[in-house]
Each structure stands twice: as structure tokens, then as C-alpha cells.
């Protein structure tokens, strides 16, 4: 959504002790938890991730330091193998999967036209229970804004799904990584609850 500061102020609001918006290697290495929010179009996003070496830092945080990591929206899309956006862009392949355009015309099950981008509050079906879902009922509405959607290859990683003409992956989890297509920082009380769960999360791995 164009905005990293929204995530920072939401985390501060739910009690994160110190939130830094940074691409500084040392600060990210020293952090207890890492949030990986993506913004804008995937090609620019990926080139910035690589230029700033955030891809390496993410790998270190995930597999060496075993820190809790939360990826949001384009941040989640960047984790996939490939995105159709901008004529096709290779992504980080942290989680094998693809990012596709919703396609037009898009329709719901009753044949009604759906607008793209998918913008607004949709119900997220909890596919698997997870510590980040604590206190959040099934079918809670979260705020989405995206024209491309994720499908991971390994379906056991899907923790939440959303129906918008297609069945899209709304949330994924693997070990110390959690990812959401929706914006918890813009999803009012439910989103704040998820962020609170994230800052209190101690992954098992």
C-alpha cells in the first residue's frame, strides 16, 4: 500500500518495544523479529530487495538466526518463485509458488462481476490453526488490496484462504515464517490482534 510507516505505527501501537524502518544490514541482523512488507510493483520491489541485499538478510533471519519473520502483501508475493506482474519477474523462491493476475473479466460464484484490484474487506478462512490466529475467529474480515494473487505449490503451508473469483492464498506459514496477502496494519482490531500475536510469537523451530 505504498506505506511502510503504517506497519511500524501499528506494531508500536500493539506494544513492540522498538520498531525501525530500515534496510541497514546491521540493524536487521540485530533485530529480534523481522517484518518484510513489500510495496508497489514487483519488478521495482525485487530489484530494490536485491540491491539492498535484503534477500540475503531474509535468508539469514529465516534459516540461520531462526527469527520470527512476517511478510506482508507484496512481501509475501516476493517470497514466491515467480510473478506474472510486469511481464514476468523471478522472485526469491523462499517458498515455491506462483503469483498470478486475477484476470478479467473476473466473476464470483453467482456470476457477478468482480473489480480488480481486489480492494477492501474480505473474509479469511482459517485453513490451519496457528499462534498468529490466536483470538481471531474463522471468517474474520481483513483489508486486501492487490491485483495479483499467490498460489503455493505445497498446500500444507496454507494457513488462510480468501475467495475472490478464485481461491487465493491469504496466509502462509512455515517454521518461523508467516506471510499474509492482506494488510494486518490496516485491518483494524483483527489486524492489530495478528500483529500482537506476531510480537509475542515464539516459533517452535
Amino acid at each position: 500500500m505504498g506505506n511502510l510507516h503504517s506497519v511500524a505505527s501499528a506494531l508500536a501501537h500493539v506494544g513492540a518495544e522498538r520498531v525501525v524502518v530500515t534496510h541497514d544490514v546491521e540493524q536487521i541482523r540485530a533485530a529480534d523479529r523481522v517484518v518484510f512488507p513489500g510495496v508497489g510493483a514487483i519488478r521495482d520491489c525485487m530489484s530494490e530487495i536485491r540491491r539492498l541485499r535484503c534477500d540475503e538478510l531474509l535468508q539469514v533471519a529465516l534459516t540461520e538466526q531462526h527469527k520470527p519473520v512476517l511478510a506482508i502483501c507484496v512481501g509475501m508475493q516476493a517470497l514466491m518463485s515467480h510473478s506474472e506482474e510486469n511481464g514476468g519477474v523471478d522472485c526469491l523462491n523462499v517458498i515455491p509458488g506462483t503469483v498470478r493476475h486475477f484476470g478479467q473479466p473476473l466473476q464470483d460464484a453467482e456470476g457477478r462481476r468482480l473489480k480488480v484490484p481486489h480492494m477492501g474487506w474480505s473474509e479469511v478462512r482459517k485453513v490451519i490453526e496457528h499462534p498468529l490466529w490466536a483470538g481471531i475467529p474463522d471468517a474474520t474480515r481483513f483489508y486486501f488490496v492487490h491485483s495479483y494473487y499467490v498460489t503455493v505449490n505445497d498446500r500444507t503451508l496454507v494457513t488462510g484462504s480468501v475467495d475472490y473469483g478464485v481461491c487465493a492464498d491469504a496466509a502462509l506459514a512455515r517454521d518461523n515464517l508467516f506471510a499474509t496477502q492482506f494488510h494486518p496494519e490496516k485491518s483494524h482490531t483483527a489486524g492489530l490482534q495478528l500483529l500482537r500475536n506476531f510480537i509475542n510469537w515464539t516459533p517452535a523451530c
Binding site: 500500500m1 505504498g2 506505506n3 510507516h5 503504517s6 505505527s9 501499528a10 508500536a12 501501537h13 510495496v39 508497489g40 510493483a41 478479467q104 473479466p105 464470483d108 462481476r113 468482480l114 473489480k115 480488480v116 484490484p117 481486489h118 480492494m119 477492501g120 474487506w121 474480505s122 473474509e123 471468517a139 474480515r141 483489508y143 488490496v145 492487490h146 491485483s147 475467495d163 475472490y164 494488510h183 496494519e185 490496516k186 485491518s187 483494524h188 489486524g191 492489530l192
Partner: protein, 257 residues
């Protein structure tokens, strides 16, 4: 259950105060924008729109500060519009905490701004605001034109064609205000709302003229809008956001409760 229709309270802000012109005369003070925004956040509004109607340069700096304060306390999407002329203006507002930026007159003077902004920041944060007014019918069909300067200055641009062009240039959403209805409390201009929602694939927010809750329902069921924007009915506590949502839900509209 699908996507909820959105209710968006709108704050028209002049020199740091929420105001609302009633029929364009007699500006009524509706309070401190940070307080007002926080109240709507608590009430369960789906988004908030902040339109800066301040003319002076000093006032615009106040606006940036106000947006920062709202963004720290409001955890729903915040759109900021009014006086946005350049990519730099957009960046300033996004950095201040806006999630989306609404472009109006600048898009008319320089449509390329919409394309540049969309490529730079993503379509999801670029809203194009259209102020439309009914003009003489053409071949027996209604026609709406874009007007600037608060509805006083015609541009000759067809509102429906303009919405289509803006979507093609990369707008992520259209904020459609009927200048015939704004401030009247007579309800949305449903003709232009329906014409534009049918013509574009991006979401459309209906604005201008809400005086009661049935108007919100009509904007969605008859106008086809994806979201409805209102100001005075909420500012002066005629209705709360939960009352509006309950009314809409009773009439079969999907809302976030």
C-alpha cells in the same frame, strides 16, 4: 460471503479543522481531524478520506502534520486528497502515513501524472477524484462533464470517458463526486454513478449528497458503487457508522460488522 461494501467517512479539512459546507454556504465546524478520525476508526468505518481544502502554503504543512498524527492512531486505510500536484506531493503524503492519495485537478492538467504515480507507487494507492456535473443531453442521452474549482468551471471532458481513461493510465480506484448533489443531502446522482461503475473495472466510491441511510443503500444497489462516502451525516451525529452498516445489512448488502 464476498467483498464487503465499504463505508468511508470523509473529513474536509481547512486550516487544521474539519469543516463542512452546507449547500456551499456557511462552513460548519465539525472538530479536530485527529479526534474525528479516531472516532470513525473506533466506530468501525472501513476507511477514512481526508480532503485538504486549505488554500495557503502554511496550511498545507499543517496538513502533513495532521496526516502523520492520524496515521499513528488509525488502523484502517487512509486516503489523502486536495492539492496533490506532483509525484513529490504524493510521496510526501505517503511518507506522512497516507495509504492512498487522491488526485483531482492535477490529473486534468497532466494525465501522465496518474501513469507516473501508478508506476512509481503502485495502482493500489492512486485514487483519481472526479467532480462531475450533469450537462445538456446528447442525442437524448444524459451526459456528465468534469468540473473544477468546486463545480464552477467546466472542462468539456466527458466524465465517463475520463474515468475509463484514468483506469487505463493506472488509477486503482475512482472517487466520484456529483457536484449537483454535494452538500444537498438529496442523495447520490445515481445516473453518473451507474454509468461509471459499469464502464470501469476498478472500484468506484460514490460521493456527494448523502442525507440519510437509504441514500447509502441506493448508491450501492442502484448506482453499483463499491464504496460510499459521506461527511455531514456522520460529523453531526445524525447517524453512526454502525447504524449505517446495520441498515445496509438489513437490506441485503454485505458489510463488515
Amino acid at each position: 460471503m464476498g467483498l464487503a461494501k465499504r463505508i468511508i467517512p470523509c473529513l474536509d479539512v481547512d486550516n487544521g479543522r474539519v469543516v463542512k459546507g452546507v449547500n456551499f454556504v456557511g462552513i460548519r465546524d465539525a472538530g479536530d481531524p485527529v479526534e474525528v478520525a479516531r472516532r470513525y476508526n473506533e466506530q468501525g468505518a472501513d476507511e477514512i478520506t481526508f480532503l485538504d481544502i486549505t488554500a495557503s502554503h502554511e496550511g498545507r504543512e499543517t496538513t502533513v502534520h495532521t496526516v502523520e498524527q492520524i496515521a499513528e492512531q488509525v488502523f484502517i486505510p487512509l486516503t489523502v486528497g486536495g492539492g496533490i500536484r506532483s509525484v513529490d506531493d504524493i510521496r510526501t503524503m505517503l511518507n506522512a502515513g497516507a495509504d492512498k492519495v487522491s488526485i483531482n485537478t492535477a490529473a486534468i492538467h497532466n494525465p501522465e501524472l496518474v501513469r507516473q504515480a501508478s508506476q512509481r507507487f503502485g495502482a493500489q494507492c492512486i485514487v483519481v477524484a472526479i467532480d462531475a456535473k450533469r450537462v445538456a443531453d446528447v442525442d437524448g442521452l444524459p451526459r456528465w462533464e468534469i468540473f473544477t474549482h468546486g463545480g464552477r468551471k467546466p472542462t468539456g471532458i466527458d466524465a465517463v470517458a475520463w474515468a475509463v481513461k484514468m483506469a487505463e493510465l493506472g488509477a486503482g480506484e475512482i472517487l466520484l463526486t456529483s457536484m449537483d448533489r454535494d452538500g444537498t443531502k438529496n442523495g447520490f446522482e445515481l445516473g453518473v454513478t451507474r454509468a461509471i461503475t459499469d464502464a470501469v473495472d476498478i472500484p468506484v466510491i460514490a460521493s456527494g449528497g448523502v442525507g440519510n441511510l437509504q441514500h447509502l443503500v441506493d448508491g450501492i444497489l442502484l448506482g453499483g458503487a463499491d464504496a460510499v462516502l459521506a461527511a455531514s451525516i456522520f460529523h453531526f451525529a445524525e447517524y453512526t457508522v454502525p447504524e449505517a452498516k446495520a441498515y445496509m445489512a438489513e437490506r441485503g448488502i454485505e458489510v463488515r460488522l
